[in-house]
Every structure is written in structure tokens, then in C-alpha cells.
Assembly symmetry: C2
Homo-oligomer: 334 residues x 2
């Protein structure tokens, strides 16, 4: 392990002044349904392909977040965004209609916290007054790209996860109302040798564990200092692995810990080990978590989105799955 | 057009203290051959696939740059990196062996200047003392992924470009010797409606033009203030389009302007409109440009890498090609 800090400290308290969540039907029917801003019954959003539908959801999340912040799109200082599609096309095609500087980011399902980390860092340093941080994912486009088109009707193992159809956007600003982002812990790539691309929770849990240790060491905070701790999308199985890894080090995550992928679907929804996808932590943050922080039910939250960094090509070539976890700490003004 | 600045200013003068270029055989035989650090005769680098060879080149560039800077890998504050492969696997698999915080970035062939922009911004703000900024590309993996496997022997139109097999890495630091990065201009996504994925120079030239205008307006510099102006990989055709677009606005780029894609291959090498790929601007910067700056033949350089943000899927679905261009200004201490 390292004594070098992986954590950025934001003394100027850049904050999340608005968040927007756009989800699909299935996500809307899940336990968090009432928290989402809009539930879209049409997975193509009236477009001619699932990919164009994903882009439309992405745009809706950004435009909606800007509107909730009382801003014109033009007023956004920069867009920090990424998604799961090859060449980040849902982000980039959404950015095409926005007259703003655009940073394309990719760390798979941890892209939301990568975006929040960089957005908060750049605002804290005074480069921008505002930034939009957005990610999304889509069940049908992810299945087509990573596994098989839906039409094939392939079976899935019980530890598989279900890619969430959702987009989320947070508007960060140097002032205003909303929880401050006080720290970001930038993950390192961790690979424990998992080769089954259906078992991403197991591949990602060690990365989350590596980042938990870095957060605690760098910030000198304790688990008890957080009202809520959320991983991005380890799912049921990966979440249990993270609890076990922590327990072996004497760290008890307890009731304050949940996984966004586990929260978003109920066990009756047949999503196996839970939700996944870059849109998963993005939509849970920009609905449930921000809502609970607004009501002061949570005052300090650790959000750790996790990403599996393989591609279908590397899986075919027998490679194991490297993973990463970027974390942000959000805190209400007290 | 916008009156909003797209340009970040780095008053603390973060600098490039070392650069490493690793290229393939064909690039080594080109006009810039003598400038490259290493020329690799084996495109697989002794590995079992082209993709693994690309990752090995990527690792060699990072490790070589750190060694030239007199650093241990562990001393690098953060890695800012990306590449052209789906899910950025050559970056991420290279990062797996590095014990450092990793920001995965994607803006196609403009990823090198996106990485330099963010790396310099984060060092300038004091978040890191050092950073490695790296990108790469590979002819065989890009052909397989974006067009057809080499074995098909497909014909190419005369305006097509040839993906460069190369990786480049710059080590940035808050002090030391080497040219300072004084500004970064973050591009917006521009789409002029080009739909032919073989004609990327034409798709990207308007993005370069948009960024040239932003650089001149934001910094109040003139074209004559630069000893060298380089686009990433517009190629012969795209470079001419950029000259024409500028000329219509009364801006004469003149002899100081070259395109890295045009420079890297001679016309006898049958690379059609020239080189392309995220590794193109990366290897030209970290060899020829840094060399000329070290010798004070150039004292102020504008590097504008350009990226085409489509995917094969969006092309199949009839979409046009959005493009982006991020620019950095590098300056010798005088």
C-alpha cells in the first residue's frame, strides 16, 4: 500500500446546486421510482434507434439540470461527461448541441465520480464558475455492444447485473445552495484476476476496497463520520465482497452502506445481482442521495462509483478485468 | 460565436520536463524517424495480439518518460491517458501496472491535448506535483475495430488517413526544465455534417478552426506570436481546409503551420492523406516538437490535436461526424 495521497481537497467548497435524473420504465418501477425526475416509457425516446434514444436521455438530463439550476445552457462553464458506448457517442452527440467546452471521460461505471472529481477540482481552482457533470447508460445499447443483441434471448447467470437505462447530470458551481464536494479520491487500477465478464461485482469490489482505504487514510476520517456510504454498482454479490474485505481489516461498513445497483431494483424485478452501468450511480445520486441531503437526513456522504475497465476484445483474448473506483465526499453546510 | 472564454491560464507555468515517443516501423521510416526515441520492428511487441502489443507500447512510453525525467513510476502524481480502443483498454491495461491515480480520457485523436490540458490545470492548481499524460494508437487494432481486419485487404479512398502506430508520454511537473504550458483552450463539439468516416480530415477541420478562433480571441495573441502551429492529424486534405477556413477570416497560417499527420509520413509511403490516430500528435510532440523547443528553434508553440467523435455504430446509423479540438500553448522560459 501507498503512503502517497490520492485525495484532492476542495477548500472553496464547490457545490452541487442542481441534479436531474432521467430513467427508463423498469427503473421507474423499482424501489427508488418516486425519487426520479422523469420516467421515460419509450426506451428509444421517439428516435429511430436505442443509441439515439440514449443520447436523447443524456441531453434531457443536462438540459433539465441546467433548468433546475436556473441557468441557460450557454452559462455552463464546461461539460465533464462520458458513457459506456464505444467512443462515448451518447455523451459526444449530446455535447454536439451544447455550446460549451467538453471534456470526454471514461472510467466505465465510475465515470460519474470521475466527472464530479474533475468538475469540482476545476471549479475549486477557479477555472470555471459552473460545470455540468453527466453520465448515462442504456440496457439495450449495452447488451448489444457488450454481450448480445436483445433479440438473441441469451440466458444470464445469477450473478450477472442489469445495465440501468438512465442518465444523470449534476450542476456544480462555486457558490449557491446544495451540498459541497469537499474531497475527491482518485482511484488506481486494481486487478484481482477475475476473467468472467458477467461477474463484474467481484472484479470491482477490490477496487472499491482500495479506494475506501485511501479515503480513510488520506482524510483521517472514520466510517462513522459518514451518514451514508454508497458504491456505484457492485450489486448484491460485489457489495458483500466489499463488506468482507473491509471486515478483514477491521472496518465495519454497517447499515450506512448501500450499493446503488442493489438499491435501484427490487428482487422481484429479476435483475439478478442488481443494476449496473454508468447511469446507475448518476441517477441515484441525482435523485435519492441529493434528496436525502437536502432534507438533512444525510449530512456527509461518501459516493464511490466503481468501473470495470475491460472490453469484449480483451475478454475474448483471455485477459482478466481491471477495475477502478473514484470517490467523492459531499457535505452539507452546517 | 461566443464571448465566453474557453481558455484556461496557467500562471504557475507547469512544464513538460520529459517526453518519450515509441513508434512502429513505418513511422520510423518516415521523415521524422530520427527524432523518435524508439522504433519497434514488431507491431505485437512480442505479445500474442496487436492489442496487447499496443498496451506494451503504451507502457513503454510511460516508463521511458518517467525514466527520462529521473523519476520512479511511483512518484508520478496522476496519469491522464486515453486511446482509440473501445473502453480505452490500452490505457487502462497499461495503468493496471502503475500504482498511481488514473483519469481515463477520451476525445479520439485530440486526447493528447485533453490530457495535457487537464494535467497542466491540476498541477497549476497545486493538486499534483507531477503528472504523466499519455496517448497511443495502433494501425492494426484501429483497422480491426473501426474498419476491417487487415486480412480482408480492403481498398481505401485517396482521402483516407493511416492510423499511426505510436505511443507518446509527457511528464508534467510544477518545476524543472522544459517548456511551460501557459494556456489550454478546451474545444466545443462541432459538426459540419460530414458523413463519410474515411474523410475525417474534412470532419475535423471545422473543429480546429473553431478552436483557432477561441485561442486568438481568449489570449489576444496573434498567429505571428507562434513559431510553430501544429494540428494533430487533419492530414493533407483537412490541413488545406483549415487554411482555407482561416483565410476567409483574414487569418493566414503560413509556413509556421504544419499538421502532425502530414509530417509523419512521406508521400512515397502511400499513406494517402497522411497519418492519424491519438498516437500521432503524441509522438510528434514528444519527439520533434520538444526537440525543436529544446534547441530554441521554436519558443512558443500552439498544439491543436483534433478528434472525430463518431463510432462505427453511429456511422451505420447514418449520423454525421462531430469533431473537437483541444489546444495547448507551450512556451520556453526566456
Amino acid at each position: 500500500m501507498t503512503a502517497k495521497s490520492q485525495t484532492l481537497v476542495f477548500k472553496n467548497r464547490p457545490r452541487i446546486i442542481a441534479g436531474m435524473s432521467v430513467v427508463g420504465d423498469k427503473e421507474g418501477e423499482g424501489p427508488l421510482g418516486k425519487y426520479f425526475d422523469t420516467i421515460e416509457p419509450d426506451p428509444k425516446m421517439g428516435k429511430s434507434s436505442f443509441e439515439k434514444g440514449e443520447t436523447a436521455m443524456f441531453s434531457k438530463a443536462i438540459e433539465g439540470a441546467a433548468a433546475k439550476a436556473g441557468m441557460q445552457i450557454f452559462d455552463i462553464g464546461a461539460l465533464f461527461a462520458g458513457d459506456l458506448l464505444n467512443q462515448l457517442v451518447s455523451s459526444s452527440y449530446a455535447a454536439r448541441d451544447l455550446p460549451v467546452s467538453y471534456f470526454g471521460l471514461y472510467s466505465a461505471c465510475s465515470t460519474m465520480t470521475e466527472a464530479l472529481s474533475l468538475g469540482a477540482a476545476m471549479i475549486n481552482a477557479g477555472y470555471f464558475k459552473t460545470a455540468a457533470c453527466a453520465t448515462g447508460s442504456h440496457f439495450a445499447t449495452a447488451e448489444r455492444q457488450y454481450r448480445f443483441p436483445l433479440e438473441y434471448g441469451c440466458q444470464r447467470p445469477p450473478y450477472a447485473q442489469w445495465t440501468v437505462t438512465a442518465a444523470g447530470c449534476s450542476i456544480l458551481a462555486d457558490s449557491g445552495n446544495g451540498p459541497a464536494i469537499t474531497h475527491a479520491t482518485i482511484g488506481r487500477v486494481v486487478d484481482y484476476g477475475i476473467t468472467d465478464a458477467n461477474n463484474m461485482g467481484a472484479a470491482m469490489a477490490p477496487a472499491a476496497f482500495d479506494t475506501v482505504l485511501a479515503v480513510l487514510e488520506d482524510t483521517e476520517m472514520k466510517i462513522e463520520d459518514f451518514d451514508g456510504i454508497f458504491t456505484g454498482d457492485l450489486g448484491r454479490l460485489g457489495g458483500e465482497i466489499l463488506r468482507d474485505l473491509c471486515r478483514e481489516r477491521g472496518i465495519e461498513l454497517g447499515q450506512r452502506y448501500s450499493d446503488c445497483g442493489e438499491m435501484i431494483f427490487s428482487s422481484e424485478q429479476e435483475c439478478y445481482s442488481g443494476g449496473s452501468g454508468a447511469g446507475c450511480s448518476a441517477c441515484v445520486l441525482n435523485s435519492f442521495i441529493l434528496d436525502k441531503m437536502k432534507k438533512h437526513e444525510y449530512n456527509r456522504v461518501l459516493l464511490m462509483a466503481t468501473g470495470a475497465l475491460m472490453s469484449p476484445t480483451t475478454s475474448f483474448q483471455g485477459e482478466s478485468i481491471p477495475a477502478i473506483c473514484h470517490a467523492v465526499i459531499m457535505e452539507n453546510d452546517l
